[in-house]
C-alpha cells in the first residue's frame, strides 16, 4: 500500500522557466508543483492518476519513486516512511515511462542483468526469474542482440523485463502508453493486468480515458498541483450518469 499525506513539492524556478510561466523578476521565484495532496493506493489494486499536462502527475510519481523528495508531508510504502530509507523503498518499486529508456549498446539480457545487480539480486534467483520473464514475454530470440538494433515492440518488452526483474511489490507507470502504437500499448496494458493478478500495487498516470476505465480500481484527479478528486472508479462514474470519463474530468477541472 502507498499512502501520501499532505505532500507538497515546491521548485525554485530557473530563469528560462520564469520566462515560460510569465513570472517577472520581482515576483517569487518559487513554483508549487504539488500542493498538499493526500491519497492512498490500496494493495493489490490499480490507482489511476489523471489530469492535464503540467498538473503535477509526474512530480507526484517521482516523489513516490523517491527520485525527488517532497518539500513537506510524508509518503509511506507498506507503512514505512520512504524518505527515511529510500534505498529500501526503491527495492520494492518498479518504475516505467512511455520512453523505453534503454541502453542501445547493451543486449536485453545485459540490460535486465544490470538492473538485477542494482537491486542486489541473488544470482540463482535472478537466473530463474530472468528465464521465466524472457519465456513469458517471448524474448529469447533477441536476448543477446544489441538493443539499438531491435524493433520498438522488442524494446518495450525489454523495458518491461527491466521494470519487473526484481519482482517489485509496487509498480509506478508514468504515462506508459503515450505515443505508443496499439500493439506496444497492449503489452503495457497486459503488464498492468498481470501485475494486478499477482497482487501488486500499481499506480499509473494517463491521458487515455479508455485505459483508465478498463484498468483502474481507484482514481485521483490532479489539477494545478491540487488533488481535486480521489475515490473509487464507481465514485468517479457516479459524478454523472450520462457523461463519459473525458467529460467527467473536464467538469471536475472546470468546477475546481
Amino acid at each position: 500500500m502507498i499512502e501520501l499525506k499532505d505532500i507538497s513539492k515546491v521548485f525554485a524556478l530557473t530563469k528560462d522557466q520564469r520566462k515560460v510561466v510569465g513570472e517577472s523578476k520581482l515576483r517569487p521565484k518559487l513554483f508549487t508543483a504539488v500542493d498538499s495532496i493526500s491519497f492512498k493506493c490500496n494493495a493489490s489494486s490499480v490507482f489511476a492518476l489523471i489530469g492535464p499536462n503540467g498538473s503535477g502527475k509526474t512530480t507526484t510519481l517521482r516523489m513516490i519513486s523517491t527520485m525527488i523528495s517532497p518539500t513537506s508531508g510524508t509518503i509511506k510504502i507498506k507503512d514505512k516512511d520512504v524518505t527515511k530509507d529510500s534505498r529500501k523503498a526503491r527495492k520494492s518499486i518498479g518504475f516505467m515511462t512511455n520512453q523505453t529508456a534503454l541502453y542501445d549498446r547493451l543486449s536485453p539480457f545485459e540490460m535486465v542483468k544490470y538492473f538485477a545487480d542494482l537491486n542486489s539480486m541473488d544470482k540463482v534467483v535472478f537466473e530463474k526469474r530472468c528465464k521465466d520473464i524472457f519465456n513469458k514475454l517471448d524474448m529469447n530470440s533477441f536476448a543477446n542482440k544489441r538493443i539499438g538494433t531491435l524493433s520498438s515492440g522488442m524494446k518495450q518488452k525489454t523495458s518491461i523485463a527491466r521494470t519487473i526483474i526484481h519482482d517489485p511489490d509496487i509498480i509506478v507507470f508514468d504515462e506508459p502508453t503515450t505515443g505508443l502504437d496499439v500493439m506496444t500499448s497492449r503489452s503495457i496494458i497486459d503488464l498492468i493486468r498481470n501485475s494486478k493478478d499477482e497482487k501488486k500495487t500499481i499506480i499509473f498516470s494517463s491521458h487515455r480515458m479508455e485505459e483508465v476505465q478498463s484498468l483502474a480500481d481507484d482514481i485521483g484527479v490532479i489539477f494545478n498541483g491540487k488533488l481535486i478528486f480521489s475515490g473509487t472508479k464507481t465514485d468517479f462514474e457516479a459524478l454523472s450518469d450520462s457523461l463519459s470519463y473525458d467529460d467527467n474530468l473536464i467538469n471536475l477541472i472546470d468546477n475546481s
Partner: protein, 397 residues
Amino acid sequence: MNIIYSIFKKELVDVLRDRRTLMFMIIIPILITPLLVIGSIKFQEYQNKKSEEKVLKIALINDSNDFLIKELLSEQKGVQVVEGISIDSLESGIKSDSLQGGLYIGKKFLKNISSNATGNVKIYFKSSDLMSKSKKRMQDALEGYKQKTVRDRLNKLNIEDQLLEPLNVISIDMSTAKETLGKAIGGFIPYILVMFIFLGAMYPAIDLGAGEKERGSLETLLSSPATKFEITMGKLLVVSLAGMVSGLVSVLGISSSLFFIDKIPEQIRATILELINPFMIISIIILMIPIAIFFASMLLSISFYAKSFKEAQSLMGPLNMVILVPLFLSLGPGMEMDHSTALMPLINVGLLTKEILAGSVEPIYFIETLLSLLFFAAIGIRFSVYWFEKENTIFRV
C-alpha cells in the same frame, strides 16, 4: 561498493562499444598524434631545406671603389648579386618581393676604411619575411669583410691578432643528453598528455550524463536502489579511466613516432629509449590518475547540468582552452619547480613532467604535486556528487 562496481562495469561495456568514444580515446591519440609529430617535423625540415636552397636576389649599390664586399657577397651560398639599380628600385624591389635584400655602400666608404675610420654600409631587408635568410647572408659577408679589415689594420701596426682576443672561452655543457632532451621534450609532453586526458574523458562524460538524460534512462536509473553517490562514482570511475587510457596512448603514440623520423641521430635515439623507462612510465601513470579524476569530475558535472548532448558539447568547448593556460605558464621564463609551484594545479604537471623526463625529479616535489592534484580531484568528486544530488540539475529540461 557492489553497486558502484555494477555501474562501473555496465558503463565501461557501454563506453567500449561506442565508436565515437573509442575514436577519441584510442584511435585519435594512437594515429593522429604520431602523424601530427612526424608531419610537423617533416614540414619544418622541408621549409628549412627550401629556405636554405632558395637563391636570394640581393641588390648591391656600390658608389665606392671597393670590390671586396661584392666578392664576399657572391661567395655566400644561394646569393645572386644584382647590380646597376637605383636606391628607389632597390626599395620598391624589396617591397614587391622581387628582391630579397639590398646593400648600399656610399662614396666615402673605401676612403674611411683606408684611413682607419668607420665605413658605413646600409643593408635593406624585410623582417616580416621570417623564413628569409637574406639579412644573415649579407651580415655574414660583411662580418668576413670586418675581420679581414681588422686583421689588415693590426698587421700594419705590427700587432698580433690575439690582442683583440684576450679570452678564449671554452663552454663545457655538463648536462647529460638525457637531461637536455628530457627538458626539451618535457615542454610539450604535458600539453599532449593533458589535452588527450581531457579529450578522452569528454565523450564518455557527455554520453554518461547528458546522453542518459536525453535518452530518458537516467530517470529509470534513479528509480533503482543505487544512490546518487553510487551512480556518480560508478560513472566517474569510467570517465577517469577513459581519460587515463587516452593520455597514456597519446604519450605512447608520440614516443613511437620518434622512431619514424630519419634525421634523429643514433645517440639521441638511444637517449629517447633511455627516457622511456619503467620509472618514467609509472610516474606518468601515477600523475595521470588525479588529473583524470579531476577532469572527469568537472566534465561530468557539466554533463549532468546540460539538457542535451549538444549543450554539453558547447559548454565543454571553452574549458578545453582554459586548461592549457596553466601549462603555458609552466613554460614561462623563471618557472621552476619549488614548494609553491608544486601546489599549483596543472602548472605543477607541466614542471614535474619536465623533471620526470630529465630524470632529475625530487621526491618531495613529486609528493607535493600528487597531494595537490589529489586534493583538487577530491574537491572535484565532492562537487560532482553535490551537483548530481541537486534535483534542479538532474531534472533540468
